[in-house]
Amino acid sequence: MPPESLASLSPQDAWRALPAAQWDEAAARHLLQRLGFGADPAELDRARRDGPVATVQRYFARMPELPKPRLIAELEAAAPEMGRRIAGGDPQQRRLAAQDARERSREALFDLTIKWLQLAAQPAHGPAEKWLLFLSDIWVVGVQKVKNSALIYQHQDILRRHALGPAPQLAKAVSRSPAMIVYLDLQQSRRDAPNENFARELFELFTLGEGHYTENDIKQAARAFTGYRQRLGQFQFAPRQHDDGSKTVFGRKGAFDGDGVIDLVYRQPAAGTFLPKEMVRFYLSDTPLPEAYTDVLGAAWARTGHDLRELAVGFFSSRVFFAREFRGGFIKSPVHFYLGLVQDLGLSVAPLPRQVIGTLRQMGQMPFDPPNVRGWVGGRNWINSATLAARRQLINGLLQPLNENALNGDEQIELAAAYAEGVRHFTLDPARLADWARQPAAPRARLLAQRYLPEIVGTGLEHQLAAYLERGGEHGRAEAATRAALATLLESPGYQLC
């Protein structure tokens, strides 16, 4: 049955669960691609049996744990001593100490990034970790300004712990996140000199959106968040720096503190529609939904006390989510593209920060380092000649055997440790390639297409692919031709989309 179109759904009906008759392989594939990072065959089978609601409920039952990476723990432990060295001593030593701290923080960020990617690459965890990526693209902090990677880990952990609970609780926890306190200058905000940065972004980019507050609301709210401090990664409240006087925010008068302002925020209708609109942008389409649809969802979500799990389950199993307009045609983010390749090629994320993180940066999305407080804009912004070249380089890297001799000592140690744990394939398994290459060209073309670009099966393109493999076979280069054909499939527009 072809998917129903958005236009055929009234705003009232649009958010009801997808009827069972609409649940087919294409719908399940769409769900897994958009909700996570790929349509893993085993997950696809199970989702088809369970149906959309149960599948989404399963993925959002609880957030996976990300144990504190070793270098983050070491950075935390060393913080008091490093602080003393940076504060005291002669200028030369202080400079060296600061440089040392930057270096350690950078290494720790690499450790965190790799550990997170390894967690997110597991098909069963993909949807929850993508949800976390979405939330951190709302509640943005960036390592460039925060500088201390331990705070970055802690911030992600705060989001993780509140990712499936009430949004106001999440907002309150984030306002106490040491990384946020540094990132948006709450650290410097005092009773007699409130800094507006956090209050402004809280309204504009985190909860309400432009047009739903006044400049005066920002000035008054900034007073409510005065006195929020962090020291060595601990939230502290400095009562003498806090302005406990009366403020008027959104037309209400009272001696609000920060939590009080957040409670007022979530009484605004715009707080109900803001996050759903952001979900549309992150998960569904570059074009916003007509407001009539998000208004209905926003009001319903507000009635749940802005519960994030209820929002997620409702949204991802809705008829809107599966509407014809949203099938295919959405550009994968660099993280999606990378983790999708890892899943589709049956690989593990290599414990090699230089290569993995360098590639993500060139594709335009280095985790924990967004371009600014708005986060990544996404859509067509992901694609230009430079980022496309980086996507191609990534594909070529993953299809060639890893050149272990070119690795530095630390990298070889990391790799040896991973092998010792039984992790094997960081690049395409040569045995798998050899298996494919033994098949005749036509079935080989079909197999590759079916696996990596199901939309082209049976089209002229599949025949072109077969002809290409045929010619490669003539020259006795079947494996090389198979690798090049696969690279081309993965590089083509179809694979950049989901």
């Binding site: 200058d185 410097q188 005092r190 007699d192 000199a193 800094n195 507006e196 940065n197 402004r200 504009e204 432009e210 400049e215 570059d286 045609g329 959405f330 550009i331 060139q362 335009g364 371009p371 600014n372 407080v373 708005r374 804009v377 859509g379 067509r380 912004n381 694609i383 230009n384 000649s385 430079a386 980022t387 496309l388 070249a389 980086a390 191609r392 380089q393 082209i456 089209t459 002229g460 393109l461 072109q464 692919l465 290409y468 090049a484 054909a485 690279a487 081309t488 499939l489 590089e491 083509s492 527009p493 179809g494 950049q496 989309l497």
Partner: protein
């Protein structure tokens, strides 16, 4: 086989001609054999000797104008900035009332040589203090209350860009394609990342990839994401090879500092001197959002800016290309006149901008800001940024500014 359509180009000349009619490269390259695409890519078209080029430099984050072009004689300056006001040894004199931040020493030299103009106190009515909204206003040249889908340079390209294959109309050095470039019609643009790198070539599967691109042909190129991807890939393939060889073979006529920003400008100089038909370049330098501890941060950024721009100008001069190039800076807003309690400044309104080039009328243009404001007030702009754009469009790029900006804005005297 006979041509299935009269649109099919079969010779290199035809191929180029179809391109110059403004059809996106892919519109015809899906009919074109790859040897034609490649032969066009490999051969540079004749350089137009007299074409003018604009290099736009974005200072992202909101540069603090008052500590860039400093009203050094105004007593209000020191009143508003008890810790951030620059002292006599941190200033370079422009006139009796105005000085440059000493971090801009190379720009100061260009000012004295008559190559640098400064447009003072540029802004727009009802200023917006959101980075994103105000950047959007500057890049789309809209009113504060108006939302435009296209950028001011994109609309210029819609009016003026001929779009030869392998010759992008716009080239940007930033991690995202700038909003300024967004246009009604698709034009080839080329992106380097902010550090000036693009990918490497070397592909044996080019023919198969071209086949894939053709096979994914849906509706009109650029109309949907698949079309957009297809067109970007094809354009990039053609351009990439050519640019890589230009950059690799470039011998600069001046020494550039080893910053990513200067490296981007070096690449711009290489492309200009190779006679690439690109008319607009966009380079971004970010980090100007100085809410706390501003002095050092801004000093370093202004130094990077000045050293990079000066090297670029010297390089162009050494090749006698300086008469063809105008470089202009902009930032989404200036900052609050009074400093905050964190030795920084918050989002503000108007700020000065630089125009650099051998054909620029050097000196200070427009009125200096009035600093007789109280601690919570902002500057009132004296020159609308669209007057700056109108000047560039009318007198530099040679097109009808009113058509592109939608209104008449009086031009200024810097060109």
């Amino acid at each position: 086989m006979k041509n299935p359509t009269p649109l099919l180009p079969s010779t290199r000349r035809e191929f180029i001609r179809y391109g110059t009619r403004g059809i996106g490269l892919l519109a015809f390259s899906r009919f074109a054999p790859s040897f034609l695409v490649e032969s066009v890519a490999a051969e540079a078209p004749p350089a137009e000797k007299d074409r003018t080029i604009l290099v736009l430099v974005q200072l992202a984050g909101g540069n603090d104008g008052l500590n860039t072009v400093v009203p050094s004689a105004d007593p209000h300056y020191r009143r508003l900035r008890p810790t951030l006001a620059l002292g006599p040894d941190q200033l370079l004199r422009l006139d009796d009332r105005t000085a440059l931040n000493a971090a801009c020493a190379p720009l100061h030299r260009l000012f004295q040589e008559g190559r640098l103009g400064i447009v003072q106190n540029v802004g727009y009515p009802n200023p917006n203090r959101s980075h994103f909204r105000s950047t959007e206003i500057w890049e789309t040249a809209s009113d504060s209350s108006q939302f435009l889908a296209t950028g001011w340079l994109g609309r210029y390209l819609d009016n003026a860009c001929s779009g030869a294959p392998g010759e992008p109309c716009g080239v940007n050095f930033s991690n995202e394609v700038p909003q300024s470039f967004l246009s009604e019609h698709a034009h080839p643009t080329f992106s380097f990342s902010a550090n000036g790198r693009s990918g490497r070539g070397g592909r044996e599967n080019l023919a198969l990839l071209e086949g894939m691109l053709r096979a994914h042909d849906g509706g009109a190129p650029g109309a949907d994401n698949a079309g957009y991807l297809r067109q970007t890939m094809m354009d990039a393939l053609v351009t990439e090879k050519r640019f890589q060889s230009i950059l690799a073979g470039y011998r600069a006529g001046a020494e550039y500092p080893s910053t990513p920003f200067a490296n981007s400008l070096r690449h711009v100089a290489a492309l200009i001197s190779a006679g690439v038909a690109t008319r607009v370049y966009y380079v971004s330098l970010s980090g100007f959002d100085t809410h706390a501890n501003q002095l050092n941060t801004q000093h370093n950024l202004l130094r990077q800016l000045s050293e990079g721009l000066a090297a670029f100008q010297r390089d162009l001069e050494s090749r006698r290309l300086d008469g063809q190039v105008l470089t202009m800076t902009f930032s989404e807003f200036g900052r609050r006149p009074s400093e905050n309690e964190s030795r920084g400044t918050d989002h503000g309104t108007a700020a000065p901008l630089f125009v650099l080039g051998s054909r620029v009328k050097a000196g200070l243009h427009g009125d200096a800001p009035n600093l007789a404001v109280d601690r919570r007030q902002d500057l009132q702009f004296s020159t609308d940024f669209r007057s700056v754009y109108a000047t560039v469009l009318d007198r530099w790029l040679g097109c009808d500014a009113e058509r592109i900006l939608g209104h008449r804005h009086p031009p200024l005297g810097f060109i």
